[in-house]
């Protein structure tokens, strides 16, 4: 008997014009790993929220069909009863914590179950080891990084000994290393505990090799397939699959490990290094920071950072969390002032922060854009409430609102939570702006996206820029800031599109 059954599930949000989920019939056996993918707004989060009753108990709306999770009908059992059976990890690490320190947070669910204290202690010690966060146990939640918070959230859900775990894009807000840490935890749960796991994820390359099945959502309908078939068919998929399809590899590998034996012959067919075409001449400088030092209440963020930005140039700033990327952007935007060193900006600045929602509070998109030059592609949403738009759509409205007429556009982590299609659109928009002479500086952790759009990549660590140059040089042969293609082929090859190959 399946652990979870979805039977002709159709759900429409209050005031929703179309169902978010349509006639979804599927089941999950104990121990299975399901990768849930689909574009933003396709219904992934709604589907996962149906499993622990947040939909419809918190959302309201019209719910038809039924969901049986661990023997409980979610229409009759509220989330507080289903929570012990289906652990849930939310997309935003900051949204899910109730208490102030890690150990109390882990105990919270157990206290709600009414467990005796010795049993709580035992479970907490076990889960600290399982998730590898023992060193965090006494820390205050506010002092944790995004990756640490997500691991604590997973541990808090696991401590309740659920039969299944639902993770709603748990890495979408994290840098590559933090995302890797979180996915390692998921990997351990799956391999060592056989935990039944449903995970919605845009970065499918890490999860796909573990998945038993892939559920692909499109406009609320679910298509189920084996990972290789689903990824070969289209949608969000690892670059390695694109490479395999282009090279005609059969069977299609879905992980680097599977691809390595096939890559040797391809490497032999490739030129020694990609021809990067004419090296782009840097435009006239519009902004420059030199030797800038900045500290937040005694914590050093920048230590003599220097960077020059040219007109018409799209520069990507990368580095691990806390490297100083956001501080550079805030200095250029005039939000912060340098404590030492010099910041010079010679034009109007547009700044889009990590959370683009902080720019959008008007009743309609049209009002948000009042007095600004109309931006193409936004016409269908002009009369909509900005916060009702998808993450990618909101990002585009925020860029149009903050970046209208600016000569220097600054974007902090603009691809957080975006699906591949929205990222592609965003990349095209930024390239268009750079082509029109705007200097664009983007802080991002998204290596694949950066490699595809950047004229220049600057890497930061410990408050300094330590590498700066064309993507082919800076992103090549790096262990962390490198693309899947480069990890497989090396020699400066970054993207599938630049490989001069066809089927063998």
């Amino acid at each position: 008997m399946p652990l979870i059954t979805l039977d002709r599930l159709t759900f429409t949000y209050p005031q929703g014009k179309a169902p978010a989920l349509r006639e979804v019939t599927a089941s999950v056996e104990a121990g299975e790993v399901i990768l849930v993918r689909g574009a933003s707004g396709s219904g992934k989060s709604t589907l996962l929220r149906c499993l622990n009753g947040l939909v419809p108990h918190h959302s309201g709306g019209h719910f038809a069909g039924r969901v049986i999770a661990c023997g409980l009908d979610t229409r009759r059992h509220p989330p507080r009863e289903l929570g012990a059976q289906v652990g849930f990890v939310f997309q935003h690490p900051e949204a899910q914590f109730i208490l102030e320190d890690v150990e109390s947070e882990l105990a919270f669910g157990l206290e709600n179950l009414g467990l005796p204290r010795p049993l709580m202690r035992k479970r907490i010690e076990e889960v600290l080891d399982q998730v590898g966060i023992n060193e965090l146990r006494a820390r205050r939640i506010g002092s944790l990084s995004g990756g640490e918070r997500q691991r604590v959230a997973i541990a808090a859900a696991l401590a309740m000994h659920p039969q299944a775990l639902a993770l709603d894009e748990p890495t979408s807000q994290l840098d590559p290393q933090a995302a890797e840490d979180v996915l390692q935890v998921v990997l351990r749960l799956v391999l060592e505990l056989g935990m039944t796991t449903l995970i919605a994820e845009h970065r499918v390359e890490r999860i796909a090799p573990l998945a038993d099945r892939v559920w692909t959502l499109h406009e609320g309908a679910v298509a189920q397939a084996a990972p290789r078939d689903a990824l070969s068919a289209g949608g969000a998929r690892p670059p390695i699959v694109d490479l395999a399809l282009k090279a005609g590899w059969d069977p299609v590998p879905i992980s680097l490990a599977q691809a390595r034996p096939m890559a040797a012959s391809l490497r032999a067919r490739l030129p020694a290094a990609p021809s990067n075409g004419a090296v782009r001449e840097p435009g006239a400088a519009i902004a420059e920071i030199s030797g800038v030092t900045f500290s937040y209440e005694g914590r050093r963020a920048l230590a003599g950072a220097s960077l020059r930005l040219g007109r018409g140039e799209l520069t990507v700033l990368m580095g691990r969390n806390g490297a100083g990327k956001s501080t550079v952007l805030k200095l250029l935007a005039g939000i912060l002032r340098p404590q030492r060193g010099r910041v010079q900006v010679g034009g109007q600045v547009g700044y889009v922060p990590q959370d683009a929602d902080t720019l959008l509070f008007k009743a309609t998109v049209r009002e948000e854009l009042t007095g600004r030059q109309a931006s193409s592609g936004l016409e269908p949403w002009l009369d909509r409430y900005p916060r009702d738009l998808s993450v990618g759509e909101r990002q585009r409205v925020a860029i149009a609102a903050a970046g209208a007429g600016c000569e220097l556009l600054l974007l902090d982590e603009p691809t957080r939570g975006l699906d591949p299609g929205a990222k592609r659109e965003l990349g095209l928009e930024l390239r268009r702006r750079a082509g029109a002479g705007t200097a664009v500086l983007v802080a991002t952790h998204d290596v694949e996206w950066a490699a595809g759009i950047a004229d220049r990549v600057a890497l930061m660590a410990e408050g300094e820029v330590y590498a700066d140059g064309p993507p082919g040089r800076v992103l090549s042969d790096s262990l962390v800031f490198s693309t899947q293609v480069n990890k497989l082929l090396g020699n400066g090859w970054l993207l599938v599109d630049e490989l001069p190959i066809g089927p063998a």
Binding site: L54, R80, E100, L110, R117, P353, A401
Partner: protein, 283 residues
Amino acid sequence: MEAANAMSFSPLAWIAWALAALAVALTARNPFSQALLLLIVANTWLGPSRRTAFPVRMAVILGLLPVALSLAGSRFGAHPLFSLPSSIPLIGGRWTLEAALFGATAGVALSLTVSILVLVQARVSTADVLALLPRPLYGVGSALALALAFVPQTAATVKGIVEVRGPAGGSRGWRAAPSLLMPVLLTTLERSLQYAESLDARGFAGRRRTRYRPSRWQPVDTIALAAAAVAIAGLALSPPPAYDPYSRLVPELPAFASLASLLALAIPALLETWVSRHAPDHA
């Protein structure tokens, strides 16, 4: 850095202390009593178990706002500070010392109220509040937990929105306050909904809760509770004389019993300091 070896009062003792201090802050407008309470609250905040930075700027702004409003709005009083042409609507005329003092007592009361709430929020965790509530009041517990999380979350929201408003061409400083209201309200509401979902998804209010770290009632808690009771009794039996700067500029000195009962509120801070100085590893 948290003080690892600081003495810890029971949450109930802190809540009793806060209620007594709030009662004094909200009812006593005598400047001598207010000054004494201000010293006690500051001393309690600076005690060895303080955990976060005090929002001094917010307290000062809250204290000065009524002064400005009273000065601008009142034309009464025998001690003019300066005059503006009476042709200026609303604020034209004499600005008086009496109006400033009247506003100051209101400002200190407001500042004290917020300071006491911030202090208790720093000393009593959300877990403590939830644990104190009987099951029928779990709904109230959710509201209280939300309220405790509200102040820091709202401060972070305001900071984030103000930061991006400047480059986006928005106004800054006090002029920006009206335009911040709706964004802050929207963001706070969204976060509250997420918080409520998280509470429910993790089984809150499902059954009778147990406690991972039960708080033990100690003799010092009884002393703190008694001190709060003394302060309340003093306020009821020997209230400090009222202060109205418009009728008499110099305030009356409260009775000894009134000040002594108020001093009882200093006992938790004194006990904390004494214990931290005499703890074995502090010698």
